[in-house]
Assembly symmetry: C2
Homo-oligomer: 256 residues x 2
């Protein structure tokens, strides 16, 4: 039986520790190809590159033949370049994204480049999983996360996923024995409370940095936030149908 | 009674004709402030800027006092900068985005910077509408679209919107008499069939341009694609909860 073909990307860039950890686990399951951004692309969501030409360069090959490419594009572009240029439309069995340095819970899933890549694959009905660890440290300890990457990838390869689904997996930043299990969750309906920190450059010009923190008023015990706060791994199924279906009957008054 | 406060942005940049047309109509309804990207930002989705400082510069004031700002950020950044820096957290009654040069139907809503901006406002529970005309021409004729901008804005200001909703309004590129009316629609479940066109630069390097076309296999008569193909204006309510709620019970096997 042929080994599964696994395409891997991320949004923290090709040098990120989380990417290396994800590749290490994925190799246990199949043939791995990596296409990653050439630098950090956090919060690039589903952005795709249209204003500048895309570059794609091989930057490494492992002793076992695993190939690595980097690009000036976004995580979404990585999935497109990987499937169409690097793999020349060979059927991909699984797209993995991450392991992200930092949480992609609640509304962060909308801004996340990690999840943008996973959802891009799901649009083409390729099974996809984004993994995130609740630690922004570039040298974060991914050992707990790797155990759950292994478990979730094994299950998804064995049982598949519903059509057009992608998974948003977030792992608490605690030692393995403290993890209580896995919860299938819905997105807690929070938002980022933001401030734009004003600074002055050496030439007298004003500029801003976006800063903020997540505010979660959604206390549901079926949410990602609840699960993570209680040391469960959160698995949120995501979809790319953005329609607010329940609102359709409420808006009929706009028809003429 | 105080006039409504309307914040306007787009993803085609501050010089786009569609932006000028949107401002012209919005001024009939209230106080308008414009914060637009300093160049094209098509397909930037919900991307926000974290790797470079954000700049914000006034570039014009109309005789009636309407202020215009441009930024190096994304459409999402424009909404944040507009609400927090320019308007200093004054309550905004309506965020308008567009009028986009080109369709944002079907899966395009996921990649769209126009809709990224509208959804950003909806996260903060500010009423928001993205408008798009099915014509990519920089000098497109927005006269039909402007009639429907006027109609939809009037209705939304009069009747409000359900909490956390944003509207994705697409207008067929036909003369006004050919428009058959408005349909409240769901997102047609299509995808972009893409190719990465390979080229060689003058120095021998390879680069790629993303090209493609929308493939729609969703023949439902309640979809945006059906409405637009039959000369209806399509209004799709969108939400920022990306959870695939129907899949939650199907994935319980992943819990432990």
């Amino acid at each position: 039986m042929q080994k599964p073909l696994i395409l891997i990307t991320n949004d923290d860039g090709y040098e990120a520790k989380g990417l290396r950890c994800l590749v290490e686990v994925a190799k246990e399951f199949g043939e791995v190809v990596v296409v990653a951004p050439d630098g950090p692309r956090s919060a690039t969501a589903h952005a795709i590159t249209m204003s500048v030409p895309l570059r794609l360069r091989p930057y490494h090959t492992d002793d076992d033949g695993t190939r690595y490419f980097r690009t000036n594009g976004t995580p979404c572009d990585c999935v497109k370049l990987g499937m169409k240029v690097v793999l020349k439309n060979r059927p991909v069995d699984l797209v993995l994204s991450g392991i992200n340095h930092g949480s992609n819970s609640s509304i962060s899933v909308m801004y996340s480049g990690t999840m943008g890549a996973a959802m891009e694959a799901s649009v083409e009905n390729v099974r996809a999983i984004g993994f995130s660890l609740l630690d922004y440290d570039p040298d974060a300890d991914f050992s707990t996360a790797m155990v759950y990457v292994r478990r979730v990838v094994a299950q998804v390869l064995a049982h598949g996923l519903p059509p057009y689904a992608a998974l948003n997996v977030n792992v608490p930043n605690v030692p393995l024995p403290q993890i209580k299990g896995i919860r299938i969750t819905r997105q807690a309906l929070g938002y980022w409370h933001e401030e734009l920190e004003e600074r002055t450059d050496p030439y007298g010009g004003t500029y801003y940095w976006l800063t903020g923190w997540l505010v979660n008023n959604d206390l549901g015990e079926d949410t990602c936030e609840w699960a993570l706060a209680h040391n469960y791994v959160s698995i949120q199924p995501v979809q790319h149908d953005l329609t607010a279906h329940k609102l359709i009957p409420l808006l009929k008054f706009l028809e003429e």
